[in-house]
Amino acid sequence: MSNIYRKRKYAVIFLIPALLFMTVYLYYPFFVNIVDSFQSIRTLGAGSNNWNDPWYSNYVELIHDEVVWTSLKNTGIMIIATLVGQVGIALLLALMVDNIHKGVQFFRTVYFFPIVISATALGLLFNLVFLYDKGMLNQLLEIFGKTFLTDWKDESHALATLMIPVVWQYVGFYFVIIETGLNNVPDELYESAKIDGATALQRIRYISVPMIHNVMVTCITLGVTGALKVFDLPWTMFPKGMPLDETFLTGTYMYYQTMEAKNVDYGSTLAVLIVVLGVILAQITKRVFKEREDI
């Protein structure tokens, strides 16, 4: 056997470029971002004027800013919607598709398709669906006898209108992951269970679900951290937290403060909040949904 596999220095050599790339484009900017959050920066790229007085003032503002709490609440709802809507529906679809013999490839393609469409394009598409006057949904309801228009983007509907497309878009992503996990479950287990008289539901409950536990943990971790980062579709449909700042998520609020309100240092503070939240939630997810090594 060649000793190229025994000498680790070769592996290190090939790892260095990626490490350098991550350092330059991720860790260094993140460090600078933390520093920026203590400084006064009005415009992007202009550099800081001076340190905030007191230097932690942005973090105090963070606590008192009502919109931050709104965006945290919305992000929390988005996480739940992700877990229930995206991962949950994906699990159901994958279990159903796993139990059919014909058309598996068809359903895989159909469910996965929204993923390949740009989120911005989807946002524009759903804008037309939920349009107040002549929108698809209002027109459909009109056909069924509704006599007045509903503003699907007003205060009482906005959050649901925002969540539905986001959930719909990513169902296919988790569906493919879970479906792949189900394919790896040995057929012998199902055959044995069938011989022992297990019903289809029992086979799912006692074989399928336990066997894809680790896959589900991965999906849940991806879902939770992904919900913290979702940006493009919500911003396309509800720019600037419209209406009345009710639809801000942590990501969209950070973008708004940085790019629109030109409050760059506060935007940096929000970015720090998002990273800290991401790390905490990822750890919680990891501990609550532990991976099993016996599968």
């Binding site: 050599i13 470029p17 007003d154 629109e260």
Partner: protein, 474 residues
Amino acid sequence: MKKRLAALVLATATACSLVGCGSTEATGSAATAAAADSTAAAAETATQETTTAATTEAAEAAEPVEITVTTTFAGEDGNAQNYKDAVAAWENETGNTVSDMSATSDETLKTRIVTDFETGSESDVLFFFNGADANDFVSAGKVVSIDDIRKTYPEYADNMNDDLISASPADNVKYAVPVNGYWEAMFVNTEVLDAAGVEMPTADTTWDEFLDDCQKIKDAGYTPIAAALGNIPHYWWEYCIFNQQTPENHLNIPASADDETGTQWCNGLADIKDLYEKGYFPENTLSATDDETFASFTDGKAAFLLDGSWKVGGIVSNCQSDPEDASTLDTAKLDNFDVTYFPGKGNRKTTDLVGGLSMGYYITKKAWDDPAKQAAAVSFVEYMTSDEMVAKFAQHTATALKDSPKVDESQFNSLQVKAMSMMSGVTSLTGAVQDLFNGDCRVSTFDGMPKIVTGKTDIAEAVQEGIDTYNAAQ
């Protein structure tokens, strides 16, 4: 041995690809330098010429280049098609190409442009506001003054009356070559007025009469005012504040929310809140986009639309079966639209208008310092600001031309004629104070407008927040 060889080949390939990146860049630089030399020579030749055509010829003589251009001639802007045609004509004439990044004029575009400058990705040529919105990149020395350009191209913008070219408030130097002026006024869908039994507002219509009209329109089942307060509250912000003032003091910036000007601002915003509470704006005014409310106006569901002169073209396009083909205009439909003054209140006469020459073409320092692009950028601006082109873009608005070509009014459509008629009765034309009140100063009252009208934010607090931001930036 084979695996070691494979590893060696892999490592070499990686190294080569890295070196390759560098060498490509080096070659690119050398090529650019070579092109720059030849283009510099061409540009130098151009400086010896004294006519606009000569500059165009110089741009033609040089290697064709691509320049990036950002303007606000996009979307519903009435000159969007004129701009497209003009760009195509310039490209044909010079062989150069334009990478166009134009977008509808709104706060997002303003932010994008300022950010582009700050991150070094600005366009070569820019059609943008000449007020405080440009302060950041003007102060940073990222655009070239007209005087500096004239040192190399003496004929640059010499068809303009310099006295009418606005200087930047940042340093009192002139940078932007204006094309067409603008006015802000109230468009009216007369079909809705007829259905509601309301007379067309005139030069004498007062604020109280306007409120009565709105109530009648609302009672008739129509939306009195087409406006997206959560998206574009700019025009209502401007005029409602103007209604508390006179042309003489409208451009004052308050020192605090409780001084005389600050109180006027607060009262102006209170008027918008009053209109909202009376239900004169669309039901979805806080969540709608400007395009949606504009559609409700053109579709005959709303009566009044406060907007700028650029909307004339938007309305006309809307009355064409093919928005890009003027011959498809439905003149009967267009006849249902009119334009009039915004009803006055207090000491502001109804015929006092907001308007002026607030935008112009900038050449960025980046393009100026690039020998390959300098002549092309100058040629482009000269082409777009030639007498013929300015007359085409300006139509019924003011220009800064020394000798305006005679406008053939017989070619005007009915809305343009009505606009000309309205302009003939104007008693004053005052700039927009929001052009002096920098971008982020307006956040609390522009983005904050939905919270102001719903009473979730105190008006005085919102105004004071904007003033504090303004003062901090001074």
